[in-house]
Symmetry: C2
Subunit: 424 residues, 2 copies
Amino acid sequence: MKIQSVRGTRDFYPDEMALRNWLFEQWRAASRRAGFVEVDGPVLEPLDLYTEKSGPEIAEQLYWLTDKGGRELALRPEFTPTLARMIAARQAALPTPIRWFNISRCFRYERAQRGRLREFFQWNVDLIGVEGEIADAECISLAVDGLKAVGLGPEDVEIRVSDRRLLSALVQTYVGVSEDLVPSVFAILDKRDKVPAEALAGMLDEAGLGNEERSRLERVLTFRDLGELDAIGSVQTPAESLKRLFGLLADYGIADWCRFDIGIVRGLAYYTGPVWEVYDRKGEFRAIFGGGRYDRLLGDVGGQSMPACGFACGDAVLGLLLKERGLGPPEGSETDYYVAAWNPDWPKVLQMVRHLRSRGKRVQFDLKGGKINRQSKNAISSGARFVVVIGDKEAPWPKVLVRDLRQGTVSQPMEYRKVGDEGQ
Amino acid sequence: MKIQSVRGTRDFYPDEMALRNWLFEQWRAASRRAGFVEVDGPVLEPLDLYTEKSGPEIAEQLYWLTDKGGRELALRPEFTPTLARMIAARQAALPTPIRWFNISRCFRYERAQRGRLREFFQWNVDLIGVEGEIADAECISLAVDGLKAVGLGPEDVEIRVSDRRLLSALVQTYVGVSEDLVPSVFAILDKRDKVPAEALAGMLDEAGLGNEERSRLERVLTFRDLGELDAIGSVQTPAESLKRLFGLLADYGIADWCRFDIGIVRGLAYYTGPVWEVYDRKGEFRAIFGGGRYDRLLGDVGGQSMPACGFACGDAVLGLLLKERGLGPPEGSETDYYVAAWNPDWPKVLQMVRHLRSRGKRVQFDLKGGKINRQSKNAISSGARFVVVIGDKEAPWPKVLVRDLRQGTVSQPMEYRKVGDEGQ
């Protein structure tokens, strides 16, 4: 009976695992350079944690189950609600700013397709307790550092930055839409790249926007430069804030990675300020990841309201981009030494193995006790740089020979306890 | 609305996460020294993967759900079935021996109690394709290396080793139980530490063992030394194999960690040869972890039969033992440099921050742009060893001062781009 894996999940054989470990290490190292510390929570969370905020419809997109006690449990679709729960539980004791990152396995019950998996990983970064644009800039700077760390540059990707407060002010004062309609206009605009123009116009019409409002909205979406807003007095406060943010991004030395894009709104309802998304410049993929400011979320899950911003970067779309660009971990071997013996002789072989492993070396030997020729073959395919030869006539135990497979050299006979400094 | 986490799951705040990361790094490093490579699979697996082998009852102890297509999916309770599925899928292409390790998040729907969680982590090690005792010894040696790496020694823990073939031969030829009863006798013996002696006798009686057989079985369980078996001719083959295993454990230099214990059977039905469990010497905890040989498992999940052995070590009981012994990651700071400025001046601060981060340093600064006194306080609580001071009268930009908080010294004014070699 052969059992298949679940659609939208992945098996990580050694090569795929090496790539995943490398990616996670880049994320960890970038996060730590920026002074963030790692946290994590459960995969299994109360379903309420998601439905309370997003409504019961969200359950359709989650994996969830009812346990024997009748409790509804969900597999986390993202980390932010867990983070908010963890902070709310210890809010009084945690000094701000809170700088947390997390690499979490998440689950979404969506149609599995290219770049969209049902089980995936996410790098989460959250900076909590700082109001100013500097916090948003710090997060974007960390996102750039993470992209750099995996080998991407400003010629590969760009970060499109906007501010919901700016778009909201424009939609109200320039387009002439009432405040209560803003959320539905945002939801429609977030679909802009996914549906044809006529469909979009239809949706806006249905939301209550007349012809004139729709054409003013179209005009808004053509703004390419923050300077174009100088003439619109009613949006100066959010426009000034966004200018300060771009100034800080220049101070971080990452201006060439970033550009203003009024059309960035982000799908999730909880964003309250700057929002941004990373795209590949060739336009081959949908948004790679994004983030923004969400000052009300902590209050909404039962804690005190606190200013907060951050981002979440999945491994699926980024993984496709890295693959396409041929980026990944440097070639490396899993083995430092291979211990071979002319006559299978476990006490000596194991003494040699022990000695090298106790010195931190990665050591293999022929567990099947084969002939020396077979051992030599295995040594090469193991990727070991050095082969220790036990039982050579020239080097009677406790002496051994050490072959350097890279240099093609053989050592003088040496005492086995002296082996281990090669290649340092 | 305050939402609680699910019982039997854990939140990992920075301290708990640092401990978890440290533990995983010890496991990874030990595995790699022994030449094992990391793999992983999904958390979400078909429920069949577990029920086909263990019967439908196992679903009672799992978290599982039915998806919209009517498919039954389970959260993995252990990694071995996934491993067997992954190997079966690529068996022809994988060169043997296969040396895989894995650190997986697993789920069991059991009563949550001390050392028993519903969501936990497991270090899995599997060595596939080698029949001889050397493979079992290699796995036990790696288990010991993992224990050593976290600071435990042979005075803290012992590994109790037996062989199911030996106990099976003794139960049949010495106790006089028929072969078909052996599995139920094993299942009862595995409960030996958990139920009172009378209850055990009752269970054996029910399984069909008479008084005389029960007392011979009791005699078997008093064997402390493999030499005691020399007189029982019918068990020489498995006894010799177990002696060879102990000989190899001595060659590995770990004889003082290991002792023969005929009473070790392991709960899982799939073991076919040597079996072993790790206990703390004080007897405060149940088995910390264990492993053994399972030569038939791969055939049972639809692949070709292959000799295989390994172990799985959960983080819950081990975590309790480490806590009790005060073992854990070395004290360390999350921050190398704190950048402070007399006059909040983002362009200079961020230039300094960028410079240090681009050199791989972990850098913090005051995102709230506070006064210099507040920055000094934050620098100390950040754990940074060095504070870079921008805007001191003695060191006008692009010069700065560097305070070494550990040594209590201050540098001469220096060009900001020269900072970063301190403490090397």
